[in-house]
């Protein structure tokens, strides 16, 4: 077959800028996800810091209330959709194929497509800052406050189209990982031998493909209301705006588990490695992860306790919400059980994992408090809720992400992150985190409402606001220390070797960074902790880092056929971005926006056609 697909020569280079742009290698895509998401994490952090500076003392006037509304909306959207989710996706990409003994994901080009769509969706969502105003109605965007007339300008369009495009990316990636995990495991790796991180990736992926269609429908309906004068949330036409809240939270609560389950997976890998013990209660941890995934569908209305759904609905959702604490608690006991009696090494990664357990318990307990509907009526929309979500999302997800970065950075780059700077990074972040967010419990109990641009000095909120802002600045310092560590270690870091942590799973059995084809020979798995068994089962230890070196010396990738780079995923993604901008700037009665949207759709179609017609990999030249 010819290497052309019509116009363009198929890209062959796997290095340089074009190498990155056309890559279909899961490790490179993982790196792209990670770096992009971290940049957005920093942007979200800047948004948060500006808000904390605004609130550091009463009646301070750093930003206007209009800007403040955009800040809290965009901070939430940035952290959830552009930082935590893609950071999880970075780990999925980097680690999943390595852990299950595969050479790539099932659909490498679809994987590249997911990344590019994510990038363009993220830019679309953020570009409101430069193009006339960002969304300003909270990340939940309750209709009718976001409906036509009530929220003029294009801010909400950036929200609607941004989330819709990001949804395409998430669903495409999730489909890919479901097929990869079910269908590409190394021989012998049965479902109950899969590492817990793989299990959590699988559960998260199923949540993604089922939850995102629901919000997509909500986004479409609100968009149609705003742009075409339809009536989905028009009370004068008999609509019930509570429908938006239902559609949003039917998606929104599984979304919470989409954010936390990968974090739980990371912690479940880090703890056994640094305790030198198998994970305690593996089947129970897996089962509770699946249970959380299912029950995540049965609790959404606890976000709506004060809407007035009535006592029956509130009681049902209060009970299901309380029940979901059971599998979560089981997991925590199992993690503690894993550490119990182990020979613990307190590396930075382990510190973050233990820190995760500590703060997640705090956040979990305040979560159980919210499940009590009458109690929640008091806490609704106060800083108590802000404290809770940051204990589970920052203290939970982000701590686990840092744990994962310290754990897998050596595998991805071949260099160790500096442990000394790392421990400083952990302690500064940990202290800053608690100083910033613990006082918010008090502020909430004292009745301080969230999303307020300022407050008066006679409310008794001055001290704790000042403390919280101080804590925020300490977190900023912690993040700067991490950035320093990252760049310093990339240049001068100690060489990692294949297995720096004496790891238990298959990714540590190959060189760091892994060769393009990952495994010269696909390993055969005989039990859980596959690599640990390989190293120690026969009673002799293989020297660290030496396990695989010889093999790829004789077999320098010969005969291993890897997918070829491709332009088309990028082209298809660009089309979506163009269509997205066309729809954002659509004005009722004018055709310009529609034309741009159609051009974008046409570009996507060209990309998809060319993609379908080109083979996944070119025949090798030998």
């Amino acid at each position: 077959m010819a290497t052309t697909t019509g116009v363009l020569q198929r890209p062959t280079s796997t290095t340089g800028l074009w190498g990155w742009i056309t890559t279909v290698d899961h490790k490179k895509i993982g790196a792209l996800y990670g770096v992009t998401a971290f940049i957005f994490f920093l942007i979200g952090g800047v948004e948060a810091t500006v808000m904390r500076l605004q609130l550091h003392r009463p009646e301070f006037d750093l930003v206007s209330p209009e800007v403040f509304s955009q800040l809290f909306t965009m901070h939430a959207l940035t952290m959830i959709f552009l930082a935590v989710m893609p950071l999880s996706a970075a780990f999925f990409n980097l680690v999943v194929p390595l852990m299950i003994g595969a050479r790539d994901v099932a659909f490498p080009r679809l994987n590249a497509f997911s990344y590019w769509v994510f990038l363009f969706g993220a830019i679309l969502l953020q570009s409101g800052w430069l193009l006339g105003g960002s969304p300003n109605a909270g990340w939940f965007a309750y209709a009718p406050l976001t409906g036509p007339g009530a929220n003029p300008g294009n801010g909400m369009e950036f929200y609607l189209l941004g989330l819709a495009v990001l949804g395409v990316s998430s669903v495409a990636a999730a489909l890919n990982f479901i097929v990869t995990i079910i269908n590409m495991r190394a021989p012998g790796m049965t479902l109950m031998r899969m590492p817990v991180f793989i299990w959590m990736t699988l559960v998260t992926s199923f949540l993604l493909i089922t939850a995102f269609p629901v919000i997509t429908v909500g986004l479409i309906e609100l968009y149609f209301d705003r742009e075409f004068g339809m009536n989905f949330f028009n009370v004068n036409a008999g609509a019930d705006v509570v429908l938006w809240q239902h559609l949003f939270w039917v998606f929104g609560h599984p979304e919470v588990y989409i954010l936390i389950l990968p974090a739980m997976g990371i912690v479940s890998e880090v703890l056994p490695t640094f305790s030198r013990k198998p994970l305690f209660g593996y089947p129970i941890i897996v089962l509770s992860g699946i249970t959380i995934g299912f029950m995540g569908w049965a609790v959404w209305s606890h976000h709506m306790f004060t809407v007035g759904l009535g006592p029956v609905a509130n009681s049902v959702f209060a009970i299901t919400t309380m029940a979901i604490a059971i599998p979560t608690g089981i997991k925590i006991f199992n993690w503690i059980g894993t550490m119990w009696g182990g020979s613990i090494r307190l590396s930075t990664s382990m510190l973050y994992a233990v820190g995760f357990i500590f703060v997640f318990i705090v956040g979990g307990l305040s979560g159980v408090m919210h499940s009590i509907a009458p109690s929640d009526a008091q806490q609704q929309d106060t800083y108590f809720i802000v404290a809770h979500i940051h204990y589970v999302l920052f203290g939970g997800s982000i701590f686990a992400v840092f744990s994962g970065i310290y754990y897998w950075f050596p595998k991805a780059t071949g260099k160790l992150l500096n442990e000394g700077i790392g421990k400083l990074n952990f302690w500064v972040t940990f202290i800053g985190f608690n100083v910033a967010f613990f006082p918010m419990h008090f502020l909430g109990m004292d009745g301080m409402p969230r999303r307020q641009p300022t407050y008066e000095s006679n409310m008794g909120w001055d001290l704790w606001n000042m403390v919280a802002t101080g804590g925020t600045l300490i977190i900023v310092l912690g993040v700067l220390i991490f950035l320093h560590n990252f760049f310093w270690s990339l240049r001068k870091g100690e060489r990692a070797g294949a297995d720096p942590w004496d790891g238990r799973t298959l990714e540590w059995s190959i060189a760091s960074p892994p060769p393009e084809y990952n495994f010269a020979t696909i390993p055969t798995v005989h039990g859980r902790d596959a690599f640990w068994d390989q190293k120690y089962a026969n009673g002799h230890a293989v020297p660290q880092g030496a396990s695989d070196d010889e093999e790829h010396e004789d077999d320098e990738g010969h005969g291993i056929h890897m997918p070829s780079p491709s332009y088309w995923p990028l082209v298809a993604a660009v089309g979506l971005a163009v269509a997205g901008y066309g729809m954002v700037f659509h004005e009722p009665g004018q055709v310009a926006g529609a034309i741009v949207a159609i051009v974008g759709a046409a570009i996507t179609m060209v990309g998809v056609y060319a993609w379908a017609m080109e083979p996944a990999s070119e025949p090798s030249e030998h």
């Binding site: 595969a102 050479r103 099932a106 659909f107 490498p108 669903v171 489909l175 890919n176 479901i178 097929v179 079910i182 269908n183 590409m184 495991r185 790796m189 493909i209 089922t210 939850a211 995102f212 269609p213 629901v214 997509t216 429908v217 909500g218 479409i220 309906e221 149609f224 209301d225 075409f228 004068g229 339809m230 009536n231 989905f232 028009n234 004068n236 036409a237 008999g238 609509a239 019930d240 429908l243 559609l247 039917v250 056929h561 890897m562 997918p563 056609y609 379908a612 017609m613 083979p615 996944a616 990999s617």
Partner: protein, 198 residues
């Protein structure tokens, strides 16, 4: 449209076939949410026209029949490509595409009729918004399907569509049947019960 480099899979199932099934599971949630919106707002419009005023059961029964028969011609196309009978495959797949296009034609004239004589547009009332959005997205799925089928028809002339590659047809067929069964639900919920319930 070749296989990837991995020929062996854990379950023995081709990646692409597994992908389409997981995707259809996801699509259930998409149409489920649209249907939920329709049902929740059923009978809540403060002004007419109502489903009983505009929906035309006899005509829609015919278009439903057309779509059901397109599913039959689709399985016949699949059956033929698996036997290596490319000539018959082309006849049946073109037949499927034409039936699909006929269904879209029915929908186009239905929408036009509603707008002109039924005084129902997506803006008129809640029923209009929910009805046009639900059936419109279904129509968009049919359109994608028709384009897909015509592409397979064209692809068969390249000579690559071997019995082994019946998989490409299988996947398109699964999508096509899915769109068909979504219509079975819409026809019942929106048309039959929708008109009857008033």
């Amino acid at each position: 449209m070749e296989h990837g480099p991995e020929h062996e899979t854990t379950t023995g199932i081709d990646h692409r076939k597994m992908l389409i099934w997981v995707f259809l599971g996801s699509e259930c949630m998409f149409f489920g949410s649209l249907i939920a919106t329709y049902l929740i707002y059923y009978g809540e419009s403060v002004s007419g026209p109502t489903p009983a005023d505009v929906l035309d059961i006899p005509t829609t029964t015919v278009s439903t029949f057309v779509l059901l028969m397109s599913s039959f011609s689709m399985v016949m196309a699949y059956s033929n490509i698996r036997k290596g009978n490319v000539r018959n495959f082309r006849v049946w797949i073109m037949c499927t595409a034409i039936l699909g296009a006929t269904f879209l034609g029915f929908q186009f004239f239905e929408f036009r009729e509603f707008a002109i004589h039924g005084h129902l547009t997506p803006r008129t009332n809640l029923f209009g918004s929910t009805f046009f959005t639900l059936t419109g997205f279904h129509g968009a799925h049919v359109t994608v399907g028709v384009v897909w089928l015509i592409s397979l028809f064209g692809y068969s002339f390249k000579g690559d569509l071997t019995p082994q590659e019946g998989l490409s047809v299988d996947i398109a067929a699964l999508y096509w049947h899915f769109v068909d069964i979504v219509w079975i639900v819409i026809f019942t919920a929106v048309y039959l019960i929708g008109v009857f319930g008033k």
